[in-house]
Symmetry: C2
């Protein structure tokens, strides 16, 4: 017997399409939304409806933005000579939260994944090479994830940018702050030893 | 610097109001929604918008339903002489999934929580007593959660229904199926011993 009302079932279906949300969580969320005032559901619906129409990609760095160029690219106080290459707009947001980077960005919108048919043409590699070729960029900081596809993408970019008259850098790899060394995995520990810095 | 576009930020705010969704998860979900086709966001928005207008409470058992009476109360094949009392519509859905209950329900929409100002008048207790007083009900199966407020609500209901000429039952309490006895907590194990059944 179908005891879940169809309208509730449709919401559960839609929520269950989100990443990391299974049917059980989707049901819990939907029932919770139903128990609250309808104004909250409408507010969420309105945010969803305006999302894609309000946000586009910055034509320079390709981050999500309501303006073009985005706030970072448009800011005269930021240093356009350094370009930090990240996989996704979420990575840019994470770096901005640190407050310790004052350069520009370049969002690849993905990583190389040949088995899934994602080659350099599917991500914003050509656009990065064009930015570098334009001559204003003096340093490219590659900040892809330290996962297998992230590293492969970094290697590919390093290879393609080898001949360019720029400084080519990577994020430091090592022990996370606050982590007990005995819990670090051996690859991280090996990287930390390899990249050790002078203590005085 | 506010690098999160306002439209994205509003969606993150709305998502973060859902239970069990913090700002980090909300950001991950919002970025994922933005990366997918806008049709999916619109579909979710449409489900949210129709939710409260399509669904009301069944005037008999108070579950969420698009029809009144709900499908369970309206089904002539179900036994209206047994009423299973649960806290929330989600509990009804869970019991329906078992396929082993063929009676009616009564949704309390909460549990007694005197410290939060939730007394019998705030949940559907009066309505349950009226259903029992109407004379058609022969058994009330109390299926509130086996938590402290769930048990307190059950005790209150048992007290109020003490004089009624009905059978008053509770869900069995014991070892969950597939659980190793050595991992059961001592209260559950004590209940299981207390409620032991004849093996042959």
């Amino acid at each position: 017997m179908q005891v879940v009302p169809p309208a509730l079932d449709r919401l559960i279906d839609s929520l269950a399409k989100l990443p990391g949300i299974g049917r059980k969580t989707a049901t819990r969320l939907a029932l919770n939304i139903l128990r609250r005032p309808s104004s909250q559901a409408r507010e969420l619906a309105a945010s969803l409806n305006e999302l894609h129409s309000a946000i586009r990609l910055c034509s320079c760095c390709f981050t999500f933005s309501e303006t073009d160029p985005c706030v970072v690219c448009a800011d005269p106080k930021r240093n356009g000579e350094i370009v930090c290459v990240v996989e996704q707009p979420g990575d840019l947001m994470a770096i901005e939260k640190t407050g310790s980077y004052r350069g520009h960005y370049h969002i690849l919108h993905g990583v190389l994944a040949p088995l899934d048919g994602i080659g350099p043409e599917e991500i914003k590699v050509r656009e990065l090479l064009a930015r570098v070729a334009s001559g204003t960029v003096k340093e490219v900081l590659i900040a892809t994830s330290s996962t297998v596809p992230g590293e492969a993408t970094a290697s590919y970019l390093i290879d393609r940018l080898q001949g360019a008259p720029i400084r080519l850098t990577r994020l430091a790899c090592g022990i996370p702050m606050g982590m007990d060394i005995k819990y670090a995995d051996r690859h991280t520990l090996a990287k930390a030893i390899e990249g050790r810095s002078s203590a005085r």
